[in-house]
Symmetry: C2
Subunit: 351 residues, 2 copies
């Protein structure tokens, strides 16, 4: 019998945002890998690609012509997962086993810039500020539509994350319902706020800043950290220091600081394995249901799949799908490794 050592012994950690556990196996990081290797795009991309349906001036799948845009550019997804049509629905949704409800929504694509080869970590701060302003406008405009109660802003980066076009872009799926993961978060934030009159993330952030061991980047207005309960090897969260609920609450200073932390975090990611680092990222913020949401605290999640190198990812498969998320490196170790990465992009430092 030995005393519990969180840096060595298998254990479970609890995620109070969604009330789920993760199994952590610190000792397992040295497992050899003989399985699938990801292929990574290594050739440099051109600044403009005439076959890209996102580049300025090009024709899209549905025949529409992109404008010769100069900053970010937003259009409705040609293959949207939801439709705007209002649907008449009179079925008995109380059926225990066959419960289905129509869902109204809008999907948009946000091109980050006209340049086919310009990823977030390589952009100038004002270019990133421009994306933030686009997100603010979309959150407002979509949120104002009567039947839209939730606006999900996200990015799938890299082919390993299902991204089918390397032209840097994100997506927005806006809809009537709170999606499952957001609803879980909402419930946790709400019950914490009702009890403590402070947001859960305000108190969590204070506790994290006290120990510092999972903090990756801190600036005047935001902190990027590996959450204590992270499931992906290099998962991070950006949390605002001030407790506010949505991207439209940013002051000008906060917009600038958010652009900076986005750039700095994605540079560290790229530097980690000297690759254009794949991830899915997304913003969790207050619903657009016209109610007050003092419990909501703006934050952004980064879920990157890579584990050991540019080509070896973590598989969330059998045990993880049937049992519970599992990780092979502690959040503290990951944070330390990310913290140590240079703030200068590897492509620039090579020159």
């Amino acid at each position: 019998m030995k005393n519990f050592d969180i840096n060595e012994d298998p254990h479970r950690r609890f995620n109070p945002l969604i009330n789920e556990w993760v199994l952590v196996s610190p000792h397992r990081a040295k497992r050899p890998w003989q399985g699938q290797n990801e292929t990574i795009a290594t050739e440099a991309l051109p600044e403009y690609d005439s076959t890209c349906y996102l580049c300025p001036g090009n024709v899209r799948a549905n025949g529409a012509n992109n404008p010769t845009y100069e900053n970010s550019f937003v259009f409705e997804n040609d293959f949207a997962a939801m439709k705007q049509d209002e649907i008449i629905f009179e079925e008995d949704i109380k059926h225990t086993f066959f419960k289905a409800i129509p869902e109204q929504g809008i999907s948009k694509v946000v091109c980050f810039s006209p340049k086919h080869d310009l990823t977030l970590p390589e952009m100038e701060i004002d270019g990133i500020e421009n994306i933030i302003k686009t997100w603010q406008k979309e959150y407002t405009d979509l949120g104002n539509i009567k039947y839209i109660n939730h606006v999900q802003i996200f990015e799938n980066k890299g082919s390993v994350m299902g991204c089918s076009n390397p032209h840097p872009h994100g997506q927005i799926w806006a809809q009537s319902s709170l999606p499952t993961q957001v609803e879980k978060t909402h419930n946790s934030l709400k019950s914490y706020f009702d009890k403590n009159n402070r947001t859960l993330l305000e108190d969590y952030l204070k506790a994290e800043l006290r120990t510092g061991e999972r903090v990756v980047i801190e600036n005047d207005h935001y902190v990027a950290l590996v959450p204590f309960w992270a499931i992906w090897p290099y998962e991070t969260m950006i949390i605002s220091k001030r407790a506010f609920g949505k991207i439209t609450d940013f002051t000008d200073e906060e917009t600038n600081a958010f652009a900076k932390i986005l750039k700095q975090l994605t540079i560290k990611y790229d530097n980690l394995f000297s690759t254009s680092f794949p991830y899915s990222s997304g913003i969790h913020q207050a619903p657009t249901d016209n109610l007050e949401h003092p419990e909501w605290h703006f934050h952004m999640h980064f879920y990157p799949p890579l584990l050991r190198s540019a080509t070896v990812k973590k598989f969330m498969v059998g045990y993880e799908m049937l049992g519970e998320a599992q990780r092979d490196i502690t959040a503290e170790k990951s944070a330390e490794i990310l913290r140590q990465q240079s703030d200068i992009h590897y492509k620039l430092s090579k020159k």
Copy 2:
């Protein structure tokens, strides 16, 4: 405005086993795909591979020698996610944000047969019965260990599912706690049974057999179906007709019928895209905590990633990770397609 048509209109469906929703976009199945293609192993494997650490007589990573086994073969995972060591633990687990608890467990590997190239759909029924008996023995032996309260039997098949060795094998992770997904299922089964005095899956199965539209295979003792709330394109569940909680409750007839439905389902899967069909599968059954579990109803999940072909999979990424699982083909359509697949393996019918 039009009336809701579940076969055409975007909608959400509810999964009463884990209390989560899935977004269904029937109209989106025709989306063109320009993204990542999976590489698939097409060369035939040898019956014996001297470099395989699972083949009979070969040496494993830790130096141990495999016996020259003739049926299935079980050994402890050389890189287990959990350890058997008892850990002294006195910390305050009530901490809101940094809640961690040591976890004891055992991981095993189950080689399905000595043959390096013999997958489940290609095995004889008595070979599969032999695997079932091995699972029963492990469930019993591991379950009898004092600190083991849950035994997760699963298989990761195919490199796209993180499987690092093509020699057909599954795994067993046994541990003290109920893993997250099992706990959710447990709670749903329990509250349903407490209210109705029948298992949730007993009643669900009756409802499914009445409509028949999601049933893929039915034999005397089991049904394989695409659950109403499936998230993966060709996800299925095998449910026992009789309400019992665990694999050790099988009668001899039920063992035989289970072997048959396993073979038939995996043949249909292989035939779907004329490939050795990848998936993660696993059995959900009663905890091994020495309590009675009349609420538990034995079932097996299959989570296959492929969507359109042997090389194009569904990506559960941005929206799915941050929002909610999403699918592009209805469960009814998938069931119909699977039902239509031949019961003779494509490799045999080619000859």
